[in-house]
């Protein structure tokens, strides 16, 4: 059989499969954005209104039982078995071929409104990309720059995790968790945590109140009960001295650490990326189908936050009345960002290659070890103790790797675009303000981080805005449909034209029309008289980025935007 004939037959064989995938994905798109789309086993009493900006997931509930997925189970499942399972997933490879041919084989996120945005919820609050957060406010993080008042009373030693630390009660009676920076690297983890939590909060995520702290041995006293071990746990002065030896020390002899104020409410444990929290009736959607969790990949990529495992989230039950309340979802432990990890500078491969990376293992195996990985080419070693190993030159936004997070694997271009839109919303000044929140002693650290975060932001914007046309924030004003070209707004593209395909319905037969716009504005009379509905595909002229779909409805005599979908 001729080779071309064989290829054609193979394509014909998979065509029905691809068609099914496409139809199935389109069906998902048309379905209302409710939990019902996730299966009959879980239903919601009301639907998420298409135009809502609030996903009401604070309906009072009884406190759910404490529960969290096991850490080692997560490592084994996602980091060891997961990559092999994924590598040998043949149906998925067929879908990969389908995607290359333009089929939509992945399910889109379900918690988005008519404008392709994530409504505010206990998981996410729209902030910087909707309304720019002033630099002075951004530096405050979730609330303020409150520091733990000294002296500190050590109440418990920290158990679990890589870092040394302890729980304290400060002079004002507030409870904090203090985690030491690794020996020899003052402000490495604490600085990374401060910058990352500041940016993530401004992006819209809930983070705890963390602050970079410095203290002396004389600022600490051990709680008498802990000292004597009367409640089972004993922690002596010698134990404290031994622990402090693992911590980083400034030139003046003080210790460097991050202080994290205890969250209000009852800690229920980390949520699972694979299942909803038992007993939380407000936890509507499968977590893998939440856009704010999928799109977090892009922000993680920006910040080099590679430690995005389940255990670095926390659910807290916030009681409101009559012992009822709701669950608030936090992102914790973001100190393994930029060039840091808990026990020192991050390993050079982290962020570029997975712990078990079947692709790279295979490449190294086949090339007898002569394959050169990107992280070997990257000049990551900054020589700045408080920064560690971080760079932006070799960095490729879409190739950033972490713990093989199952939520990130579900990310579609739309989710990626959403994340990129948030990253791109941060100005140079805001980034500088976030880095200043860390109060770095070493001025090189501030300059290096600001420069590299700006470069990484621009790379992210170029990559995602090259895949999905960054045409957004559509509005009807003065008889015209106006929109923003985000790439032009942030200065990575010059003024450009746009192509629009209009399909309209109304009196008479459906009409189809194409037009070119010289600027981000389309007169609505172009839709035509007597029309009551219109669907627009707005793309960038001469650009391959996927266009934006906009639907308009004529209400009385006014055109109203009823739906926007990117990419």
């Amino acid at each position: 059989m001729p080779r071309s004939s064989a290829v054609a037959r193979a394509l014909l064989a998979i065509l029905p499969l691809l068609t099914l995938c496409t139809l199935s994905a389109q069906a998902d798109e048309r379905a209302p954005t409710t939990a019902q789309t996730e299966g009959a086993a879980y239903t919601r009493a009301f639907t998420l209104a298409d135009s809502t900006w609030l996903d009401s997931d604070t309906v009072p509930i009884a406190q759910p039982p404490d529960w969290e997925p096991g850490l080692w189970g997560y490592y084994l499942r996602e980091c060891v078995f997961g990559p092999f399972e994924h590598a040998f997933d043949i149906p998925d490879k067929l879908l990969l071929a389908g995607r290359a041919l333009g089929a939509r084989t992945r399910r889109e996120a379900v918690d988005v409104n008519a404008f392709d945005e994530v409504p505010n919820s206990t998981w996410f609050t729209n902030r910087n990309h909707m309304r720019s957060v002033p630099a002075s406010q951004l530096a405050l993080g979730p609330d303020s720059t409150l520091l733990p008042a000294k002296p500190w009373t050590v109440k418990h030693a920290k158990h679990g995790g890589e870092t040394a630390g302890f729980q304290i009660k400060d002079a004002d009676g507030k409870k904090w968790l203090v985690k030491l920076d690794p020996r020899g690297y003052p402000q490495l983890s604490s600085g990374a945590d401060m910058v990352a939590r500041t940016l993530l909060h401004a992006a819209g995520y809930s983070v705890p109140h963390n602050e970079s702290v410095r203290f002396r041995r004389t600022d600490l006293k051990i709680d008498p009960e802990l000292l004597q071990g009367t409640k089972g746990e004993q922690f002596t002065e010698a134990n404290l001295d031994t622990m402090l030896q693992r911590g980083a020390v400034f030139e003046d002899g003080s210790y460097s650490a991050i202080g994290s104020l205890f969250l209000s409410g009852h800690a229920l444990g980390a949520p699972s990326s694979r299942r909803r929290r038992p007993g939380d009736a407000n936890d509507w959607y499968s977590h893998v189908n939440r856009r704010e969790l999928r799109g977090l990949y892009v922000l993680s990529s920006w910040l080099g936050f590679w430690d995005t495992k389940d255990a670095n989230y926390l659910d807290a039950f916030v009681a409101t009345r009559d012992s009822l309340g709701h669950v608030q979802h936090y992102l914790l432990d973001v100190g393994s960002s930029f060039g840091a990890q808990a026990n020192g500078p991050k390993a050079l491969w982290q962020g570029y290659e997975r712990f078990i990376d079947v692709g790279w293992i295979s490449r190294r195996l086949v090339t007898l070890g002569f394959a050169v990985e990107p992280w070997r080419k990257a000049r990551q070693e900054t020589g700045i103790p408080s920064v560690g190993n971080f760079e932006s030159t070799v960095y490729e936004p879409e190739r950033f790797t972490e713990w093989n997070n199952p939520v990130f694997r579900e990310m579609t271009d739309r989710d990626g675009y959403w994340g990129a839109k948030i990253v791109a919303s941060f100005s140079d000044g805001q980034i500088a303000a976030a880095v200043d929140a860390a109060r770095y002693d070493d001025p090189r650290a501030r300059d290096y981080l600001v420069r590299n975060l700006v470069q990484r932001r621009d790379k992210i914007a170029r990559y995602w805005f090259g895949r999905v046309a960054p045409l957004d924030f559509f509005a009807v004003e003065n008889g015209a449909l106006r929109f923003h070209d985000l790439a032009v707004d942030i200065g990575i593209a010059g003024a450009r034209g746009y192509d629009v395909e209009i399909q309209s319905e109304g009196r008479g037969a459906p009409a189809h029309k194409r037009m070119h716009l010289d600027r981000a504005e389309m007169p609505l009379n172009e839709i035509g008289n007597g029309r009551s509905r219109a669907s627009l595909e707005v793309g960038i002229a001469g650009d391959r980025a996927r266009s934006t779909h906009v639907e308009l409805i004529l209400r009385d005599t006014v055109w109203v935007i009823s739906r926007v979908r990117h990419g």
Binding site: F355, I356, W360, I361, R364, L365, L368, G369, F370
Partner: protein
């Protein structure tokens, strides 16, 4: 070889036993045997035994993930009653490959598959390593 992640390792071992005093015989169990660290890669353990044993191996190791390296090996092993009888023409050749997990300085776990004229041999070894 140009980088720590690519290593050519050479190993040469000689083991010989000679009778002492007036006797010219040796108990069988005192003879040098191809087992343990002296095992020939493509042959069953203890397959060869004599007064003299020599083993030479060249191994190419390249890191594939973290502390795990792949191995390609070629080995020559011989036994003979006298040192002078150890000759290249009488050597037993093996080649093969496997995986090596570096555990600490000088120790490793290795899983090897060796091929020789007598067939395939799989060997798992944990302990000191070259």
């Amino acid at each position: 070889m140009f980088a720590k992640r690519r290593v050519i390792a050479l190993r040469g071992v000689y083991a010989g036993v000679d009778p002492t005093g007036s006797t010219s015989t040796l108990p069988y169990y005192r003879l040098a045997s191809s087992d343990g660290a002296l095992r020939f890669a493509g042959y069953p353990t203890g397959r060869f035994r004599d007064r003299q044993l020599a083993l030479g191996r060249i191994e190419y190791r390249w890191t594939i993930v973290q502390r795990i390296s792949a191995i390609a090996l070629y080995e020559l092993g011989a036994v003979a009653p006298r040192t002078s009888a150890l000759a290249l023409s009488t050597t037993h050749r093996s080649y093969g490959g496997g995986l090596r997990l570096g555990m600490s300085e000088g120790s490793a776990a290795r899983l090897e598959i060796g091929k020789s004229t007598e067939g395939l041999e799989v060997n798992l070894q944990i302990g000191s390593d070259f």
